[in-house]
Symmetry: C4
Subunit: 286 residues, 4 copies
């Protein structure tokens, strides 16, 4: 009874909110934020294509061969896309009742950073850092995905990673301690000519080795150094099992523990599994 | 009752199908498609050897040393094998009642692509792409395996990968976003001389690093670049746990699903395997 | 009854121990060893900053560019920090009733090794090995962590690794046997010019390859050598699954062990968690 | 009753066997084959040291620096150890009633191969392949381990690998198909100068890349080649999850399924779990 009453109030509030928006705002909101209507879907696909085109243009612009040949075309595409992004950004703000919440949100800032660099490049020219900010545009892809039901899988991953954060932090800290000490050891063993010119560089080499990347730009030349390197490699190869074991155990745990959301009506404790019939704390029927 | 009746009809249809094939067609079908008879097994082994020989010849032909010396022999072997493959292909078509279904199937196309390039090479000479198509021949190995019970294991794998496709797509997309942004960052930090000549090349480097391949053809030289590289390596080393966790959880799920869901009606215990007839705790019939 | 009596005695002993310390000793002990009081927390954060600063200085000192420029500043910082570490070390000894137990403990030795090299460098100059010992300072980070509840996660890891030590030793021994034999094989196949100048160097290469590090400073050049190398790589790629499988199984075991072993006396069902008071299926008191 | 009778007969047979050996043979057997007596343990430790020394000598002998300096010493050690190994080999044969079974066993052949090359080197000089055979000596380490209870862990591993052999074979075959086709593709895309001089070499490169080894001796230079390489790397990085998932699932299965060894006395079927009270097939009490 109580729930029904509450639901009614909430429904009226929602209606009230929507009513305060003008008809054109409602229409824009449905298209930009929704995915249920056909125009909303078309808008999402169009936006996805725009983002991909813009990323491809940023990439090709950095290749000197293409830059010399097609710079004019790139600039035109860049300004057209930025214009469309600007219109979209303004429409998003105008169609919301609380625009500041959006503007200061993660995606709001990404949207702003997607258009700002192009306008800034009119004032300051040839600044490479702006390219980096423009590349952040690709983060917008995730907003489109969020509207689909594709990010359910991501949630499981994020929860699994979050639950194992303590172990992962300890693991990374242990590796850091290990590479710092090994970096100092290798620095005192290996000659300058082999590339071990400073402790930070030796630590850089130790990380390259323990993560099994192995560029080969720095490599030990003394027998003792090579023996220690072999040892690091075997350690790195063996301990990769540790984070894997942690995350796997967490992902599996998630699958097993489909925990009921509502609490026991008698003792109000939660944490009952799906197959439970009685509360495990007080014996009350669930 | 109904089932028996249906079975009877299906059996008659099957007989009818087989009857419509002429005796020699039936014989050819048994040999080529079947693995139960001795000639069928011999045919499979012979086909396997032909495929392997043909692949070895394609490989050796690409080595200039062998090409100069044994080109004549290679060409003869190639034409003999292609001839045999052609005969097999025609026999397969002739021995089936619905040849188009086979011709347009995956293996039908692979079989066609196995013989076409050799004939085309008589008209167009020295074309490298034809070599690629000829190498597709190796895919035929899987058809032979499919007739044995070896692909049961593959099914488990494919189902496990299929069930975790959502998570894997999200995972790959996250990595792509990460390397695109990192590529742009490294492009603006590192000098041209280190190999970071464009954003696509920097992304290529980021992928080499995050997957722990580490060629070393492109490697950061600035301290800041090396610090970021170290960070990418540690991330790449840690997140390999994520796909592993997903797939492992899926493979194990498959193993668990072989347990009956309902409990014994007498002692109410669960955990009985699919082949169990009696409850393993109290002996009650399940 | 007996336990209560024992507890009483132990409590009195504890009181006695504390009483024997002078007031200033107790105060120092609370600040240095405890984390519950505000001065204790402040001390920990301050110590953490000192350790990090000292490690950064050691690193920068090894870079010739910074060494030439800021050597004076580095030496001053080094001596100030060593002075503070010395004061802390002495206070730790003075505030304990059994100082020898601390001095000879792992962390006691690490603390001593953190201050000794700086004093030794006044007598012997320019000795690189002292740098290595000074880098051991970073191990002190773990003591600070130990006071927080962050190391709980580490315990699970260490127990999981400890329980699977037999399998891991066998695994590493098998890999060692494999790389020794392969090293000898590659040494007899590959020419000196490719870098396979001795069996130890060939073993070094085999370890680089099987752990998928792949520097590229030594690489096979003969077709046979490359074929064997390909084989090692595939083996190395496949057997990484083995330690991962072992550790994952152990980590999961830990999670499972939290389940009660005995069933409900009423419905005979198992799978109750350790904190359960009533059977979740029938409500019976466990 | 029947079992007791059988046991009695077996015991008598054993006694008879031992009796037929002369006293000195029995003593030698206890020392060489047993690990329970103190002389047996001492012998094992001594043998282990001999094997390690001999392996170290073989390694150092291949380093030209040490060879020039200490060749005389190496030869002396080599001959002394070979002499001791020969004595051990002969004692093993003499102390057994069925020496041929030992001589033709795996360890019997390893023991023979441990001593033969040194004698052969007196006749044929400077033959590198003999070094390889001598390195096989290290395999003897496993026999010593086998006497301890350290190989229990190995059994779990071997069974887990054996049970997942079908999936692993399919997995390796899929990778082989993949690298063969990719090798052909890269050979037709990349120029000779980048190192892709033949299809086998391109396949070698594809294996280096997909296993994330990444030497860098061969690396793509064209944009298309680098794009394909990036794709292979991501695939290689993702599919490492597959063998890991398989093996982990098997290792865990082993832990869960402690299967009873004896069959049901009524229906003679096996495969009952440890907690089973009744046969799951016929309901008979176990």
């Amino acid at each position: 009874m109580l729930y029904k009453f509450k639901d009614k109030i909430r429904l009226e509030q929602l209606k009230e909110n929507e009513v305060k928006l003008k008809p054109w705002q409602l229409k824009v909101k449905t298209v930009i934020h929704g995915t249920d209507t056909i125009p909303g879907r078309v808008f999402d696909v169009f936006l996805l294509l725009l983002i991909l085109t813009s990323i491809v243009v940023i990439m090709l612009e950095s290749v000197s061969y293409y830059k010399e040949k097609y710079l004019q075309i790139f600039l035109v595409i860049e300004f057209v896309i930025t214009g469309l992004f600007t219109v979209e950004y303004l429409l998003r703000i105008l169609s919301l009742r609380k625009p500041w919440k959006y503007i200061l949100s993660f995606y709001g800032l990404v949207d702003l950073l997607s258009i700002l660099p192009t306008y800034l490049s009119l004032i300051f020219t040839g600044t490479k850092p702006l390219t980096v900010i423009r590349a952040l545009r690709f983060l917008r892809v995730f907003r489109i995905l969020e509207m689909t039901n594709y990010t359910k899988g991501a949630n499981t991953l994020i929860i699994a990673l979050y639950n194992s954060r303590q172990k992962i932090i300890i693991f990374i800290l242990s590796i850091l301690t290990f590479v710092i000490i090994l970096g100092a050891v290798m620095y005192s063993i290996e000659p300058y000519s082999a590339g071990f010119t400073s402790i930070p560089r030796s630590i850089y080499w130790a990380i390259i080795t323990i993560t099994t990347v192995g560029y080969g730009d720095i490599a030990p030349v003394t027998p003792l150094g090579q023996a220690i390197a072999s040892f690091i490699m075997l350690v790195g190869y063996a301990i990769i099992a540790v984070p894997t074991g942690i995350v796997t155990a967490e992902v599996m745990q998630k699958k097993h523990d489909k925990i009921r959301k509502h609490a026991c009506s008698n003792c109000l404790k939660t944490g009952h599994t799906m197959d439970a019939v009685h509360c495990k704390y007080c014996g009350e029927k669930l």
